[in-house]
């Protein structure tokens, strides 16, 4: 484990008082959020706690009704996931993230293919397969993803390897933040660990990671801090090294109030 970031680490993403209503339902009711440089921040919460609405606001998939989002201290207005991506926030989705019959290299560069130089690239939109292949190998090596051939179709990979491709793609292109939505949900134990290992390497490369997960052992294994969402708000941010799993779940479900926790359990 590398040193966990402390209160001095700069805020990469900050959100204040996010409100999101869907008709009568208030999904976010003044939620705050802070992500620090170099950390893995887990976001947990019961169904309907507002965690997915929160993440969608940060990833640009929904626009909050009220509240502000800051990226590196600058006010951000994301109108679409593409805006968020241009700002350097990459999201990995649980599944659906890859095109199965296409090669690993093509998947890594899907939507931002490297063009050939000059007229061929700019007008004819021809892609530079050789460079894409080289870059793919370099980036996958960088993250120590042990997949040999970048020209094999993604469908020949195991579920965990596919998820590694999706994570590697996000890590390769994210300038600021990688958001991962249940990246290990569909995976077995060994495959899940492989992806966790990769998430750690992404963090160690300096990219902060927001990890949404229902899997408490996974959260406790890799998170530096845990953001607990409850009733559309941030109930607490806790330090997994100083709080038990059962206390965390108790706060998440409302069985225990934040005031009942020892002071050191709270992360700053």
């Amino acid at each position: 484990m590398s040193t966990s970031p402390n209160a001095q680490s700069p805020l990469v993403i900050q959100a204040k008082g996010l409100v999101k209503r869907y008709g009568q339902v208030t999904a976010l009711d003044g939620a705050d959020f802070e992500l620090r440089a170099g950390e893995i921040l887990a976001v947990i919460g019961d169904n309907g706690a507002g965690k997915s609405s929160l993440i969608k606001c940060l990833a640009g998939a929904t626009i909050p009704d009220e509240g502000e989002i800051y990226l590196d201290g600058q006010r951000a207005h994301f109108k679409s996931p593409i805006d968020a991506r241009r700002a350097g926030i990459e999201t990995v989705y649980q599944d659906l993230a890859v095109a199965p019959a296409m090669t690993i290299a093509e998947n890594l560069f899907l939507g931002r293919e490297i063009r050939r130089p000059g007229f061929l690239g700019s007008v004819l939109q021809m892609i530079d397969k050789k460079r894409m292949l080289e870059e793919s190998i370099a980036r996958m090596n960088d993250l120590k993803v042990g997949i040999r051939s970048m020209t094999q179709a993604v469908e020949t990979l195991s579920g965990g390897q596919r998820q590694c491709v999706a994570v590697a793609r996000a890590a390769a292109f994210a300038q600021h933040v990688v958001i991962m939505d249940e990246p290990t949900a569909a995976l077995g134990v060994k495959e899940g660990n492989m992806v966790l290992e990769l998430i750690r390497r992404v963090r160690d490369k300096g990219l902060p990671v927001i990890l949404i997960s229902h899997n408490m052992p996974h959260v406790f294994e890799i998170a530096d801090r845990i953001h607990i969402a409850r009733l559309g708000k941030r109930a607490a941010v806790v330090d997994p090294k100083h709080i038990s799993m059962s206390d965390t779940v108790a706060v998440m479900t409302g069985a225990k109030s934040v005031d009942d926790l020892p002071a050191q359990a709270l992360a700053h």
């Binding site: 996931p81 593409i82 991506r85 999201t91 989705y93 659906l96 993230a97 890859v98 095109a99 199965p100 019959a101 296409m102 093509e106 899907l110 939507g111 931002r112 293919e113 063009r115 004819l124 939109q125 021809m126 892609i127 397969k129 051939s149 469908e155 020949t156």
Partner: protein, 319 residues
């Protein structure tokens, strides 16, 4: 051993080609007139129109769509271009452009209904199939347009290589296949067509506008149908309102026989050329054998089902 296997094209690509060679071998034993350059040139002429339609159909099927209206749109295009020339005395290039414009417009309508109204392509094109047919009949008064200028039939002329006559239209079709193959293989928009067919959701999440890709594909398919209209006019020497009826399903048959998956995202456009040739070879070979045309239709039907079956099984194998 492993590397050799990786270098060979997958069975889905090679299968249609093997089928074509086997079919040619069979007909060569049945008729001594089959194996001649002149006969092959004739087969190419016969598949020229359906082959060009099938390029557009391939693009659409690669996106996991289907176009049932392709042959009818082609017929409409040939009526529009011939009538523009005959009724208004427009020069061939202008009339041809208007004809291709009409087919592209129909492609746009198909595309808008698929992307904006979110209707299934099967239903949309079933509707436009009938609409295009009706417009063609109404506009032409169900009459063949025989007054066709030379500029429109030029592609029906041939040149000779040795003893063999080759139509300019055939050369155009082959060139279009080559260009489309390069486009799909080497360009970003081409790869996006595969991606949309593979997984629309994953493609959208990477920031590619799947609607734009689909719309582009349907319009481009319309342009190919328009070029096929021109080839049809050149071949028949007239604008025929009843053209396109066999081509309509034959184009889908060619795509499927060529190994493109009806589930989208997999396939090579050159396979469609092979598929079109398989249909052409069977028609030609059975005719030379003196077999009734009803049996030719029967054989085509069986071939299509076999091709889809192979596609289905190879997909299960990949899982």
């Amino acid at each position: 051993m492993n590397s050799l296997k990786a270098k060979l094209p997958p069975m889905g690509t090679l299968g249609p080609f093997i089928a074509l060679v086997v079919a040619c071998g069979f007909f060569a034993t049945q008729s001594d007139r089959f194996l001649s350059l002149q006969n092959f040139s004739l087969i190419l002429q016969q598949v020229m129109v359906v082959g060009t339609i099938a390029i557009g159909q391939t693009l659409i099927i690669l996106t996991a769509g289907i176009d049932l209206s392709c042959g009818m749109i082609m017929a409409l295009g040939s009526i529009v271009m011939t009538k523009m020339g005959a009724d208004f005395g427009l020069s061939a290039p202008v009339a041809i452009t208007l004809g291709i414009g009409a087919t592209a417009l129909f492609g746009l309508v198909n595309g808008l209904l698929v992307t904006k109204a979110k209707l299934p392509p099967f239903i949309v094109t079933l509707g436009t199939l009938n609409i295009a047919f009706a417009i063609t009949q109404l506009y032409s008064g169900s009459q063949t347009v025989t007054e066709v200028s030379e500029g429109m039939t030029w592609l029906g002329n041939s040149f000779r290589i040795g003893e063999t006559n080759i139509l300019y239209g055939v050369v155009l079709m082959l060139a279009l296949y080559l260009l489309t193959w390069l486009f799909l293989r080497e360009t970003a928009p081409g790869r996006h067509i595969y991606a949309v067919g593979n997984s629309p959701e994953a493609t959208r999440l990477t920031g590619i506008s799947t609607d734009k890709v689909l719309l582009g594909v349907y319009v481009l398919a319309g342009v190919f149908y328009g070029i096929a209209s021109l080839l049809s006019v050149a071949r028949i020497g007239a604008g025929d309102p009843n053209a396109g009826q066999t081509e309509n399903l034959d184009a889908i048959t060619a795509v499927v026989l060529g190994g493109t998956s009806l589930f989208g995202g997999r396939g090579i456009v050159l396979g469609t050329l092979v598929g079109a040739l398989i249909v052409g070879v069977f028609r030609n070979g059975l005719t030379l054998m003196g077999v009734s045309s009803v049996y030719q239709i029967l054989v085509t039907g069986v071939l299509v089902i076999l091709a889809v079956l192979t596609d289905q099984m190879s997909r299960k194998g990949a899982r």
